[in-house]
């Protein structure tokens, strides 16, 4: 099954990190990337620019409305994602708990809906 792991944490808190802390975290993500690829689970993933860089688009009655900011203002913001191929939820939980964001914020696991 495919799962997307959505990484949420508080951007404001990440901003307060020292350069060394940020660097250490980056290294942790690189190592995790490699490990997941070796385990055959990694189907891709990216870090995202902060929510302040988000643009939201809605079309109502044919009218396009473009606004500044994310879909919802929340305490924790979507900061990145992984797409993984895992046998079951247990395996996906095992991956989620290794992601640094899980220690500070929340990793949301969503099964990918397949039309086949």
């Amino acid at each position: 099954m495919q799962y997307i792991l959505l990484l949420y944490d508080e951007e404001a808190e990440s901003m307060k990190q020292s350069e060394a802390e940020t660097e250490a975290e980056m290294q942790e993500y690189f190592a995790l990337d490699e490990a997941l690829t070796e385990e055959g689970l990694n189907k891709g993933g990216e870090a995202l620019q902060p929510a302040s860089q988000a643009t939201s688009v809605r079309v109502r009655n044919g009218e396009v409305m473009v606004t500044d900011g994310p879909f919802a203002e929340t305490k924790e913001q979507l900061g990145g994602y992984y797409l993984i191929d895992a046998a079951d939820l247990e395996t996906a939980i095992g991956v989620a708990q290794r992601i640094p964001a899980a220690r500070k914020g929340t990793v949301e696991i969503r099964p990918v809906l397949k039309f086949d």
Partner: protein
């Protein structure tokens, strides 16, 4: 079994086989919903045939064979309806047809099913009804009556949970060793919740709810048998058996609650106690850290071993509550510990602990703290302070039987 087995006897016999058949079919079909449906259809056949033809020699084999055939029928119908899934359906058909049906060869995968039903990714409110439905084999109306919930609510919780099991990829499996302690704790909490639902109501006339306690014992026995190296399921089983052994003595003929100290111990169920005590001895080992259920069972065993209340080994209870407070440091455990200390070392020592607990504030709204305090003050001869504490307890108690008990005690303290 005679051929005229009434419907509720069939229900009981069938229930014992339900979970095992669902587990085996769900594993093969990859879908708990289809498995449940097939076993439920087999139940309808049993209700019709067993009372007429008698109960089969091997109910387990009969249930799985019948459910298998229903599942295959269903798969064939789907095959003709949806060309695209024909191949998959045919593979499943073959896999189902290959399942063994000799009693001894049927795998017991109920433990895997229980772990799936109590998966923490499922809503907490759905874990109890889903476990009762899929593992226990209770029907939705039975679960609704037992949990005092509307049928529609129970049904909705079960339907949603089954959907999540399927779409989120919750596999029927015992969790990996590093996650087993946490996940087992959820399973045991669900089973104890089922038990307490039944226990709390045993004062009432509703037999379905008392059945629930027996059902919880049956399911806990399955977990304890299938995880023989884990002490906590055995501890929970012993705890349930010991609590259940007192059910006849807990209420007097007028429906009034009877305190443990005042219960007629000749009415305790000796057979349940005889089963529970060796279980406690098996898991309560010196120098091995014990979990909360093992310790609670050991505490219940001390009461079971006392011929009457005055014979209770309070020194041992004091030690056990101390250990329990260490592994599950809740104010309620501390309160019970204070009562044990009072019995072992005198009311003054207990009162000091209760006052320290009261100063913490966590149990200020808990009537049992004030009634325990009132009782110790009474024993110290401080009648005015005792009456004051009984009044606080009365103001907080909501249960009628408990209120009447507290009123009697208050009247004594006031010398009325």
């Amino acid at each position: 079994m005679d051929a005229s087995a009434p419907a509720d006897a069939v229900a009981r016999l069938f229930r014992a086989e339900f979970g095992r058949a669902v587990a085996v079919l769900a594993r093969t079909l990859g879908d708990v919903d289809r498995a449940e449906e097939a076993v439920q259809e087999a139940y309808a056949v049993a209700l019709e045939r067993w009372p007429r033809d008698g109960v089969p020699d091997s109910p387990a084999a009969w249930v799985l064979t019948t459910a298998k055939n229903r599942a295959i029928d269903r798969l064939r119908r789907e095959r003709s309806l949806r060309e695209k899934q024909a191949l998959l359906a045919r593979d499943l058909e073959e896999a189902v047809a290959d399942l063994p049906t000799e009693e001894d060869a049927i795998p017991d995968e109920r433990l895997e099913l229980i772990f799936a039903c109590c998966h923490p990714a499922l809503a907490a409110e759905a874990q109890v009804p889903l476990t009762l439905r899929l593992v226990g084999g209770l029907t939705v109306p039975e679960i609704a009556r037992a949990l005092l919930l509307p049928e529609a609510t129970v049904n909705q919780r079960i339907v949603r949970a089954k959907r999540k099991v399927r779409t989120s990829g919750i596999r029927l499996a015992v969790p990996p060793p590093e996650r087993l302690p946490d996940r087992l704790a959820v399973v045991l909490a669900v089973l104890y919740l089922v038990f307490n639902e039944g226990y709390a109501a045993s004062a009432g006339p509703d037999l379905v709810r008392e059945d629930l306690a027996a059902e919880a014992i049956r399911l806990t026995r399955v977990v304890a048998d299938l995880l023989p190296r884990e002490p906590e399921p055995v501890g929970l089983l012993a705890l349930m058996l010991l609590q259940h052994s007192r059910r006849e003595a807990r209420v007097d003929p007028h429906g009034e609650l009877v305190l443990l100290a005042d219960q007629d111990r000749s009415r305790w169920d000796a057979a349940l106690i005889a089963e529970a005590l060796p279980l406690v001895r098996r898991v309560m080992r010196p120098r091995r850290p014990a979990g909360p259920y093992v310790l609670q069972a050991a505490i219940a065993a001390v009461h079971a071993e006392a011929s009457d209340a005055s014979d209770t080994d309070w020194r041992r209870l004091k030690v056990l509550y101390g250990a329990l407070a260490h592994v599950s440091p809740t104010p309620v455990v501390e309160l019970n510990r204070a009562v044990a200390v009072a019995m072992a070392d005198g009311p003054q020592a207990g009162l000091e602990r209760i006052d320290a607990l009261a100063a913490g504030g966590a149990l200020d709204d808990y009537h049992l703290l004030h009634s325990a305090r009132a009782d110790l003050l009474r024993r110290l001869g401080e009648n005015a302070a005792s009456a004051h504490a009984y009044r606080r307890a009365l103001a907080l108690a909501t249960n009628d039987a408990e209120r009447r008990f507290l009123e009697r005690r208050l009247a004594d303290a006031e010398g009325r």
